[in-house]
Symmetry: C2
Subunit: 474 residues, 2 copies
Amino acid sequence: MVSSDMIFLDAAAGEPMDPVAREAYLAALEDGWADPDRLYHAGRRSRLLLDAAREAVAEVIGARPDEVSFTSSGTAAVHAGVLGIAKARARVGSRILTSAVEHSSVLHAADFAAPDGSSVQVGVSSLGRIDLDALAAALSAGPAALACVQSANHEVGTVQPIDQVWQLCAEAGVPLLVDAAASLGRTDLPADWSALCGSARKWGGPGGVGLLALRRGTRFAAANPEDERERGRVPGPVNVPAVLAAAAALRARQADRHSVAARQRPLIDRIRATVAKIPDVQVVGDPEQRLPHLVTFSCWFVSGEALLTELDRAGFAVSSGSSCTASTMTPSHVLVAMGVPSLGNIRVSLPWQAGDAEVDRFLEVLPGLVESLRESAPTAPPAQVRSGDVADGYGPGVLVLDTLGRRCPIPVIELAKRITGVEIGQTVVVWADDTAAKLDLPAWCELRGHTYLGREPVPGRPEPALAHLIRREH
Amino acid sequence: MVSSDMIFLDAAAGEPMDPVAREAYLAALEDGWADPDRLYHAGRRSRLLLDAAREAVAEVIGARPDEVSFTSSGTAAVHAGVLGIAKARARVGSRILTSAVEHSSVLHAADFAAPDGSSVQVGVSSLGRIDLDALAAALSAGPAALACVQSANHEVGTVQPIDQVWQLCAEAGVPLLVDAAASLGRTDLPADWSALCGSARKWGGPGGVGLLALRRGTRFAAANPEDERERGRVPGPVNVPAVLAAAAALRARQADRHSVAARQRPLIDRIRATVAKIPDVQVVGDPEQRLPHLVTFSCWFVSGEALLTELDRAGFAVSSGSSCTASTMTPSHVLVAMGVPSLGNIRVSLPWQAGDAEVDRFLEVLPGLVESLRESAPTAPPAQVRSGDVADGYGPGVLVLDTLGRRCPIPVIELAKRITGVEIGQTVVVWADDTAAKLDLPAWCELRGHTYLGREPVPGRPEPALAHLIRREH
């Protein structure tokens, strides 16, 4: 895509602007540059264009035009929606229920709106699907301001059962905000919601446009300084040319969604099948109830950052939920909530034009890269191996692997290498301060049939240092 | 400008995008579309472009790059700046001092951040210049979170004495937020500020970009859900192509500011001199300490809406602070604070390319339009004239003009027509419920040398109905 020497497979992070959107933007720079609130001709013309864009977006999402507001980003839409509904319903209750795998903008908005810690994260299955029983329990545990459940997960592609979620929320009388950013332009959309959010960058529109739709009757009180624009729901001027471009792209993508999905679903199936054949690679997310264009997998014993770097060198742009690829050095909260490994994690999301050629090339290159990274992996000196002694508080025969100060994937690599050095039934202790170890060590034990006994403080060392106890089972 | 059949004279509402900006935008759609936080090549390239844009803007405003954040609009910049500084300094004090003629986004942000009514509006002179003594008094009246004073007024063009304002704030230890939206790209900028805000639409950049600069050492705590972008100051992704376009336009405009000002200042002088010769037209704002490209005047006995409409028909796009042109039906708070008339109010602000041709044409057309509107003005039936009687509570000889339910300029027209019908020294009472009458009746009395005695309730009628008492003096 875009440049002949790069294959862009990170559509979920924002696609290049669609040609349809670009054309609409340029046309609107001529006809829609004026402030739509002005009374003169150029202003009225902008207003007409903005009205037309609003109608087009409303039609795509199954809403009335007066239910649709434009924001400056998907993040801004989520913030305005969560905070505005929470404020309007503050007297009913302050609790905000979310799935544990919502986009960080939703989780952060919920934490902000419910600063007393009364936001509740409902767990998900290992496939990333929201636990409906847990949601029902949370809804009946007391009054709630709102619930937020995504249409589909942006990292692993799992589609959420919004119809059932809506049913539960409706029965409880709690409004439902659906973050549809991962689905808009890609799949059919849920019919029932109180608020629906999206981001134009994710559907081939320009940057700087988000969508906040509010069903009539949804109580809302803007949680920002007064502003008369967009029915008082969203502050700041509407960027008319960008909104027109966003509407044009959404209409085009949504019209083509079935044909693009029919083309790309088999491509993703092929990636899933091929990477699953690479030793110690685990595909995560629901294999069936999923977005048509997105797949995520983790590669044991490989650093996500190294894999990203090598793929970049080979001309592929992909994304990763590994801790070593985040500024916070923590693994993706989505993978954590699913309890799946974050090591060597790669997300592939196909731009709508991507086809066989891009996927073929990716699958040609990936297995060799993973293999060579594994061969060259522990370039750093091996972990300091200590046999347990009384000073450590561990009994005799316990093997202590000290990987303090070493990043992923070293703790898992060391464990895998050394566990056969103890007797079956004996314990290995891994000291680690990489936060990903909390996720990856238990996941590896489950995969390999050893028992993860738990974790405890490392003698004399503060968190994040932790001692992970593993029993060899075979 | 833009289309051959329209002369656009409302640059202060947002100009058409500058060709330089458009070119930068299109180039960045190719090279800067990717998320700048991504580790792959396209992401790193976006990051480099964003860094370059930040450096360019920092250089223009005399700041360090790490002091500059990009927001989604000027409104968003003001909101983030005011709320973020107020939050960080909440323990020091909650009062927010503003001039009474700040942009509504500043006043609304101050009201939002200081909801207990502890925001203080410092008055201005009849030329729109902040009252420095009043500011000093407000600063010494108790601790304050921050002060907000614009570099220049967006409606009347008066330049504020930011150097002196800074001095007073610095002595009081109170940070100063300068809304420079009206000045950026047009004039030299103030050297000293704690925060500086602007809007790219006002300097020929694209919609969807605002500027928030924070001097190092200014305490700031983002008043929005957590977000790691833009140093945590502003939520949501940065729209890299739009930011590059904004930076290109700002650099070009700021480089040309002196030559454009040298060309446009005499044009504005000519408008000032010409409209002042039209009977009963009053130019408002400082004649010297002013923006080079902007002038505002009010035309007695004319409706602002009618004047805008006629100018629009004649092919001119201008703006108005008259109450009848606002959705709220209240006159511009700037004109109210200055105590100047809002009737038939027109703001002319020249786009940077505008020259003699546009101004000549405007000055050819305007006087005739004002005259013909005045001739045709009271198309509605004349105000109900009642002689005062005991039931009204007014003494004998008092003339009561009932203009309830009639919009501006009817109350002033009726007063001007009928005041000569009472004896000198006698009182005329004007009943009016148009909120502009509160501003325009006293202003007309001052202009004509009659005495505005004050206002009181209309017997048996709730506000906004008011009885205005005027004594004929000559």
